[in-house]
Subunit: 320 residues, 5 copies
Amino acid sequence: MISLNYYEPETQQWQPITFNQLPTQLPADARLWINLNDASVDEQQTILQHFAIAPTLAEDFGRQRHPPKLEAETHFTLLILRGYADVDFSEYSGSAQVNLLYSKQVLISRIYCHNASLLNQLKPQIKTTQSADIAEWIKHLILTVSASYLEKLINFEEEQSELEDGMLQRGTDEQMARIMRYRSVLRKINRNLAYQKDIFADAFYEEQNPLLRHFSATDVRDFYEKFERLHSMTDLYYDQLSDLVEGYISTTSHQINERMKVLTIVSTIFIPLTFIAGIYGMNFMYMPELQIANAYFIVLIFMALGGIAGLIWFKIRGWW
Amino acid sequence: MISLNYYEPETQQWQPITFNQLPTQLPADARLWINLNDASVDEQQTILQHFAIAPTLAEDFGRQRHPPKLEAETHFTLLILRGYADVDFSEYSGSAQVNLLYSKQVLISRIYCHNASLLNQLKPQIKTTQSADIAEWIKHLILTVSASYLEKLINFEEEQSELEDGMLQRGTDEQMARIMRYRSVLRKINRNLAYQKDIFADAFYEEQNPLLRHFSATDVRDFYEKFERLHSMTDLYYDQLSDLVEGYISTTSHQINERMKVLTIVSTIFIPLTFIAGIYGMNFMYMPELQIANAYFIVLIFMALGGIAGLIWFKIRGWW
Amino acid sequence: MISLNYYEPETQQWQPITFNQLPTQLPADARLWINLNDASVDEQQTILQHFAIAPTLAEDFGRQRHPPKLEAETHFTLLILRGYADVDFSEYSGSAQVNLLYSKQVLISRIYCHNASLLNQLKPQIKTTQSADIAEWIKHLILTVSASYLEKLINFEEEQSELEDGMLQRGTDEQMARIMRYRSVLRKINRNLAYQKDIFADAFYEEQNPLLRHFSATDVRDFYEKFERLHSMTDLYYDQLSDLVEGYISTTSHQINERMKVLTIVSTIFIPLTFIAGIYGMNFMYMPELQIANAYFIVLIFMALGGIAGLIWFKIRGWW
Amino acid sequence: MISLNYYEPETQQWQPITFNQLPTQLPADARLWINLNDASVDEQQTILQHFAIAPTLAEDFGRQRHPPKLEAETHFTLLILRGYADVDFSEYSGSAQVNLLYSKQVLISRIYCHNASLLNQLKPQIKTTQSADIAEWIKHLILTVSASYLEKLINFEEEQSELEDGMLQRGTDEQMARIMRYRSVLRKINRNLAYQKDIFADAFYEEQNPLLRHFSATDVRDFYEKFERLHSMTDLYYDQLSDLVEGYISTTSHQINERMKVLTIVSTIFIPLTFIAGIYGMNFMYMPELQIANAYFIVLIFMALGGIAGLIWFKIRGWW
Amino acid sequence: MISLNYYEPETQQWQPITFNQLPTQLPADARLWINLNDASVDEQQTILQHFAIAPTLAEDFGRQRHPPKLEAETHFTLLILRGYADVDFSEYSGSAQVNLLYSKQVLISRIYCHNASLLNQLKPQIKTTQSADIAEWIKHLILTVSASYLEKLINFEEEQSELEDGMLQRGTDEQMARIMRYRSVLRKINRNLAYQKDIFADAFYEEQNPLLRHFSATDVRDFYEKFERLHSMTDLYYDQLSDLVEGYISTTSHQINERMKVLTIVSTIFIPLTFIAGIYGMNFMYMPELQIANAYFIVLIFMALGGIAGLIWFKIRGWW
Ligand SMILES: [Mg+2]
Ligand SMILES: [Mg+2]
Ligand SMILES: [Mg+2]
Ligand SMILES: [Mg+2]
Ligand SMILES: [Mg+2]
Ligand SMILES: [Mg+2]
Ligand SMILES: [Mg+2]
Ligand SMILES: [Mg+2]
Ligand SMILES: [Mg+2]
Ligand SMILES: [Mg+2]
Ligand SMILES: [Mg+2]
Ligand SMILES: [Mg+2]
Ligand SMILES: [Mg+2]
Ligand SMILES: [Mg+2]
Ligand SMILES: [Mg+2]
Ligand SMILES: [Mg+2]
Ligand SMILES: [Mg+2]
Ligand SMILES: [Mg+2]
Ligand SMILES: [Mg+2]
Ligand SMILES: [Mg+2]
Ligand SMILES: [Mg+2]
Ligand SMILES: [Mg+2]
Ligand SMILES: [Mg+2]
Ligand SMILES: [Mg+2]
Ligand SMILES: [Mg+2]
Ligand SMILES: [Mg+2]
Ligand SMILES: [Mg+2]
Ligand SMILES: [Mg+2]
Ligand SMILES: [Mg+2]
Ligand SMILES: [Mg+2]
Ligand SMILES: [Mg+2]
């Protein structure tokens, strides 16, 4: 099922039309938005052929999963973006894949997004009685994609410093698992944002970059700065979480070392003494020492001396 | 044994010929594919000399193991590619080495690949009654090499998140060994893909790059994007597995720390108490305390006090 | 509440004025500083519209949190800087956000800073009876922002080597937590400084960089060197602290290994011996060995032999 | 002792000559190889002064240890290379230092190499009755230096995967020491290869690079690719060994965690129970419980309940 | 106290003069070295103002701690270098700060160096009866700064491989502390050398670089290579020490794992058996088993079976 929204310049009205009603030659002021979200493979094929989209571009546009990219033909420009469709960074159930093919008058869009509210925003804003500037539509989509990251990234700072405080007191398995999840998700997001940052960075440095057909240098710079900021925030959070993991290894080995010291000192002193007590607890018929008058006290003194000697030895070895 | 497939422009027929039947001067519309997969060193030498291939190119073409590269002479272009010939990333029994020397009319290919089905795809598609565009053959081989990675890399996402979930509950030796294998294989693949990504990236930026003799800029860009995507996916998986290894070290040290705490508290309290019990279990003839009326209860109280003192000391030290 | 400070060229006097008193057309020698620190969103909007500031610049200027950046329009230049507003690096309660919009005659500033003394310095120095060079104001603000880092970074060297000495003797939980805090804060500062270093580095290499409208190449180079030095000092301290964390892991595992060796040798020898003593401490009616004359001595010798055998076995295994 | 080999164009003969027999002005077709391997400092000084070698070049040529470099004067070019002179990568007893000063007609060489067979190959191949192309000599030396790495690096793949398999079953101290040695040696080799890769990479990009006086672009590219491949193989092996070290830390902490779990469960349950048994093994005159009829069974039941309670507590804590 | 050394062209004599004797206009062939090592802030100020040094340059020249840099004015060039003033790399008590302002005829120098012998070398070599080439003085100072690193770095190779051998047998706390100190010092030195390498690298690539006023391209290249070599040696040593730290963590965890295995097997088998022995060592009035004839042997057999069962279970779990 393909949804075509056509702006009829005479009647200055937007109205849904079917593919067959599509004039082969679009009038100059006509505007057309073709929403392929629910299109079948064949329907999509017919549309792309109708607008003579190059095979390589058509192939990329048709993929549910393809890294963000920008590539232009004479009339059409392919822009693939990836928004963030999950509530928070605890799991990554796939990006909001925004595949756009646009020209001066036509926007062909296919958007895969499991988050209903975001999907709803990822639509061109059509004002019923007005024509439309396709570039404005694209700008709105770019800013929506960037916004789908920003709020969550700014809020994450709260979660990150909570994790930091938590781990510095006494980390738990659950916190460690959360950190590991976040790191894995942040890496995926960071890769998406790197691709998108590069798209606008390239536009910055190449005079005849396709984006400059539709946007001013100031706009392109704003797009770049938005994605660069998101990208460097994910870098920052990822690195801070990695520091936390490494730091936590250091804290736990410190504590294990401390506990190990106590256990070893107590065991090394008392296990041999218990053994000696065990010897004199044996019920052999003939055990000469047992008969000696103050053997008991001698053994006790020997045990005390042994214990103190052990403590001194550990002191020399710098154990406490 | 060399297999020569010759397209006879007059008869517009492909037919296998022997080396001697090879016309010294190829007619303009003739096409020739020389398959050296089973050629001996001498047979290969004669072919390469016949087409006056430069020594350095001949040397590289002749190697079973050589990193991917692109180098052109006046007529011939040497293109070395490496496909992925194993079922999954659990072990790397060597790449599919694709050594190609091609000109407008001739393709000389030598392919080493232990995976029969991939070897079968790594062949130019000859349509019996039609001539052939050598460039189309090369394009098919490039896309086959790239495809030999893509499916497996996309499926690996499943395996990677399973490993992630597994390690976050309770990792096993077997899972850790699997992660280590994957990382080692991913590094090798990543290096191959880096070489191949660079080949097409160079073509992107150099005007008179040899690839542009046979392919359009759009095609070259598509080749680049395909290998860049594969390369960055191996980077992503490699990094995520490394995070898992580092994270797992942190999780296990946390758990060791917790177990160590329980063991040390129990041992530090009960080993000395057992020692005291051992002392009064000794069978010395003369042990005064044993005779005292409620010595038993005093000892019990002392033991209880000692135990509680231990617990309080640990509480002060923040152990629980 | 907006505070406007206006230099009246005729009276050569600075005096506070209200927004309505603002002449639509500023006389050539007039100077104006508009302090929006306490302005409401609307008040800020009116000011920015009055000076026809571009929407993207206005948006960035209006944010309390935005990475440092430099962007110029025909008349106005937007300069966002981040100073360091905390006493030391033990926690990062947010930067001193310095948002500036300046032209030849006008400075519009909005500064968020929880540190009163720093906030006080982050103001243009107005000499009552003299006009002002807006560039001098900006230079003063840039140097104040850089100075807000320098002292603390130089003093940190003391703290860093103390931590180093501390960790090499016997690290404590508290020291480890401090290192982790410092690393987390240093990363944030390092990111801020990287942005600011890049602003002045760009100016270095681009002829018509907006900064060069107001500053000489020598000044810009000095700004760059100051922020580059700060940035590389945070890099240095961060890396040294990371080395300390990694090194401390190595030291503690060494010590755990040593303690483990003592514990295992003592336990492996004495626990079995205690068990044997326990066996002959049992009160079974009929235990033949107990009756044998010198069974006691045989058992003692066996225990001694067992102990020595254990020690020798450990010696062979290279344990001591 | 200096050995001079002079090609006399008239007699078309190579013959050893002494320094004094050296014509001040070399005839056009004369060729000269001066081997300074066993020269004293003064002898070397006289030679270098005779050919008016610049002081900085002479200084570098004279060093037994200097990183690889290429620097040219009007007539002479200084080329310093480092071959690999050890049998395998288990230890690095110093590189084969190949110091060359060559012009159209003269080669001055000084080679330090403790490996006799390699030293033997590192000599220009003089065909008694033929003149010589100094460039061919240099090419032979470059390819010999590169070959001194290649075989060993390719064979190392075998050793690397053996280590990998070994560490995944049960690593030993010996294997870990071997990995550490390899990593240390690989780093040194990698640095040498990086210097040498850069020499030929520079030649690739600089039109008037000194190498292009003597070699074609194809030759220089082949030199570059050979050293780049060696460099990237050492990178690959180094990284894989590092993964092995990190992975092994993870495997051992997993196993320590498992053993720790068993030890703690057994100790936490049985040490207190042994203590209770020890209490009732005490020989106090008056211990009321001992007299109670089925106190023995009550104690046994209590012990059993305690043990089971311990097991259940560990189950709740997720220990097994 | 300022020391001025003035070369009087007429008398061709060097003689110390006071600041007032300084001719306002220096005769063409005069030479002047002003040593500010012991100058007060004011004295320094008067000198810098006398030669109209720009404020930013004067500010940097005046700092006791400033990263190495090169900046030129019309007449004067500011060159800041950092030598290595400590005996070895075990601690870093601050660099030899070499602040130089030089022109064709004048050298103003301020050197902070706690190492007397190095301070003594860091002086221009004045030959009493000869004029001086200020550039020669600067060259001498640059080579002295580079030499202050080289010997120690070459000798460090010995210390590094000793540490490596030490850690591979049995590391000690002391060796680990030494490695940590070296790493921390090497990082600081590496940063200084990176700054100084960059100074000469820039000169390499910028035609009108200030250094080229006084030095030939060959000289500048030699300076670059010297500092690049030092920098890459510190990189190499730092990385090798880091490998050692990481490798040592792996070795110790391997050994802890081995010891843990022995301890757990012995404890898990003997602690329960000792408990059972303890039970039958209890003095309850009525313990039926004690009366049964061969209960003793049954208990012994049970204990043996339990022990063997434990060993088999560990074997199945792959523990030995
Ligand atoms: Mg992807
Ligand atoms: Mg992704
Ligand atoms: Mg990134
Ligand atoms: Mg990319
Ligand atoms: Mg913006
Ligand atoms: Mg880190
Ligand atoms: Mg290879
Ligand atoms: Mg490979
Ligand atoms: Mg890579
Ligand atoms: Mg490469
Ligand atoms: Mg594509
Ligand atoms: Mg990581
Ligand atoms: Mg931010
Ligand atoms: Mg920040
Ligand atoms: Mg940085
Ligand atoms: Mg940036
Ligand atoms: Mg400065
Ligand atoms: Mg490190
Ligand atoms: Mg060296
Ligand atoms: Mg080396
Ligand atoms: Mg490298
Ligand atoms: Mg280099
Ligand atoms: Mg080659
Ligand atoms: Mg790694
Ligand atoms: Mg500094
Ligand atoms: Mg420093
Ligand atoms: Mg460095
Ligand atoms: Mg720098
Ligand atoms: Mg040199
Ligand atoms: Mg370097
Ligand atoms: Mg490492």
